[in-house]
């Protein structure tokens, strides 16, 4: 089983980690990739004309080529290494959006976006005078496709949409949305943060123009993220940050910049993290998406069934439709923080709050929620223990049962 691949569970054998939608634990292969690069071949990239520097460059550019292949991109030059999805989306809004949009343009996004795919567009709309259109969700937690058709047909310059909602678990029909958006000449920006570790992604097939994800949600280290962009678009764009590494030549009067992707990688990049990102994606590929999809769907089913049997629990997100292995829910009379705090003390990690999607919570008219999300290391036992813990939390906080040491410990 893959749980054994993750050293965190050696350090904490009892840990039940159900917060992978926030960030995933790291397999030994990724820890080793970091450690091996730092202890055996560390140097910076693209500069040192000495063997170690050349080796580091090969490893770094090799990681880029691997990411391109993983995403189904046409060329490694379309893959930009950045800090995370947030930085990538800000880059697209600033470097592509700002010079290209004006008061007549419409930016179409959805109410289910993570703040990182909402705030850059909200700010861009304010800066350029463009109109910001936010597509609603249906009562079943799916994107309102009627509204999407209507709004895109009314004219759109950008469609910024998440592949998978980090609150609802909804999997959006990106290829269909992209086709509608492209019919209006819009550029399609896809947030893949919740997707890459859980389902196959092919940026060419989905016909996105930009696709972003964070390494840390895909078993890779923090501090490394990816922007994939169509080469024609990247080629037209000015740099986002300027500084070291990304220039051809610099003089007092005139500076010329490198071609993409290096034009967008100012400063010494996260070399070790990029190399370890390759390790993480290899790890995913070795397990295989068939196996990941099967395992996560089985655990999701168990989770949904179990939650449905607990009195007072209401589940967010689509019922009976394709959804990812994450479930946000509310429990009558028990505050989400109390649930996550109580479970936390039993060694069960779940998230409580708005999950960086406050507009969605507002639109649904709900306060904070609790979210349990599945990763490659989770087992049926994890889900069952979580459900038992939830029953205890309910009994305790609704006053059915008194707090004793036996309720508090597992």
């Amino acid at each position: 089983m893959s749980r054994a691949d993750f050293p965190i569970f050696n350090a904490h054998p009892e840990l039940i980690y159900l917060d992978s939608a926030a960030t995933t634990q790291k397999p030994q292969a990724v820890v080793d990739a970091l450690s091996s690069f730092y202890s055996k071949s560390y140097a910076t990239v693209h500069r040192g004309v000495y063997p170690m520097g050349e080796r580091a460059t090969e490893l770094y550019e090799g990681a880029r080529a691997y990411v391109a292949e993983f995403l189904g991109a046409k060329s490694a030059d379309e893959v930009v290494f950045l800090r995370n999805a947030t930085e990538a989306l800000n880059l697209v809004a600033e470097a592509w959006g700002r010079p290209n949009l004006g008061p007549k343009d419409r930016i179409v996004t959805t109410i289910m976006e993570h703040h990182s795919n909402f705030l850059p567009w909200q700010r861009l709309a304010r800066q350029t005078g463009a109109e910001l259109v936010v597509l609603p969700v249906t009562g079943n937690g799916q994107l309102d496709m009627e509204a999407a058709r209507r709004e895109l047909q009314a004219g759109a310059s950008v469609l910024a949409v998440t592949m998978v909602s980090n609150v609802l678990g909804t999997v959006n029909p990106i290829a269909c949305l992209a086709a509608m958006a492209h019919a209006q000449g819009a550029v399609v920006v896809v947030d893949g943060a919740q997707a890459v570790a859980h389902r196959p992604v092919n940026v060419t097939q989905m016909e996105a123009d930009f696709f972003v994800f964070s390494g840390h949600k895909a078993y890779a280290p923090t501090g490394i993220g990816v922007l994939w962009g169509r080469s024609e678009l990247l080629a037209q764009m000015e740099p986002f940050l300027v500084g070291g590494e990304m220039v051809n030549s610099v003089s007092l009067k005139k500076t010329t910049f490198l071609d993409p992707p290096h034009r967008f990688e100012a400063g010494t990049p996260a070399v070790a993290e990029a190399i370890a990102l390759k390790g993480a994606l290899e790890y995913i590929k070795n397990i295989g998406f068939d196996s990941i999809l099967g395992q996560e769907a089985a655990l999701l089913e168990l989770l949904l069934t179990g939650l449905g049997q607990i009195p007072g629990v209401s589940i967010l997100g689509p019922e009976g439709h394709l959804r990812e292995g994450l479930v946000s829910f509310l429990m009558d009379g028990v505050h989400p923080h109390d649930i996550s705090g109580f479970l936390g003390e039993k060694g069960i990690a779940v998230r409580a709050g708005f999950h960086c999607a406050q507009p969605l919570h507002e639109a649904l008219g709900i306060p904070a929620t609790v979210r349990a999300s599945i990763g490659i290391y989770n087992t049926e036992d994890d889900v069952r223990t979580f459900l038992r813990g939830l029953e205890d939390a309910r009994a305790l906080f609704t006053g059915e049962r008194q707090w004793t040491t036996s309720t508090a410990s597992r």
Binding site: H335, P336, H337, G341, G353, A368, F397, G399, W403, T405
Partner: protein, 140 residues
């Protein structure tokens, strides 16, 4: 262990003694933790001698934020402003009695923070009750 404190917190959460609104508070103060949805209004009646004659809270939030507000009201009643000025963060945490991580700390200290702001505004003679700092008034 912590059990006695936890039971006490649950007791204040499930059976609050000082929840509600005062008819004519000399001061009403509100604050929230927008990221957790904790929201508390604190009503105070402070007489001319500077004694807190009555103190009530209402709002919503997790057990810790609500129990902390109830416990703080209990402590504040009958105290003078100078007594309460000496009541510090550590005293509040001692009152709760359970270890709080950085996130729950905000819940545990929300009512305390509101009380401190209320006392400062009282000392400065800032207008007392209206207009709720521009925030929506309590329901009911």
């Amino acid at each position: 262990m912590d059990d006695i404190y936890r039971q006490q917190i649950m007791d204040h959460y499930q059976h609050p003694r000082h929840q509600g609104e005062l008819q004519n508070p000399t001061r009403r103060e509100h604050d929230s933790n927008p990221l957790c949805g904790d929201s508390i209004y604190l009503d105070l009646n402070i007489d001319d001698e500077g004694t807190v004659q009555d103190c009530r809270f209402h709002g919503e939030g997790c057990s810790i934020s609500q129990a902390a507000a109830d416990m703080l009201c209990h402590v504040s009643r009958g105290k003078s402003i100078s007594d309460l000025a000496a009541f510090d963060k550590d005293d509040m945490l001692k009152l709760l009695g359970i270890p709080l991580g950085p996130v729950r700390l905000k819940c545990g200290l929300l009512a305390y923070k509101i009380l401190k702001v209320a006392l400062v505004k009282h000392a400065m003679g800032t207008d007392g009750v209206e207009p709720h700092d521009g925030l929506k008034p309590p329901s009911q």
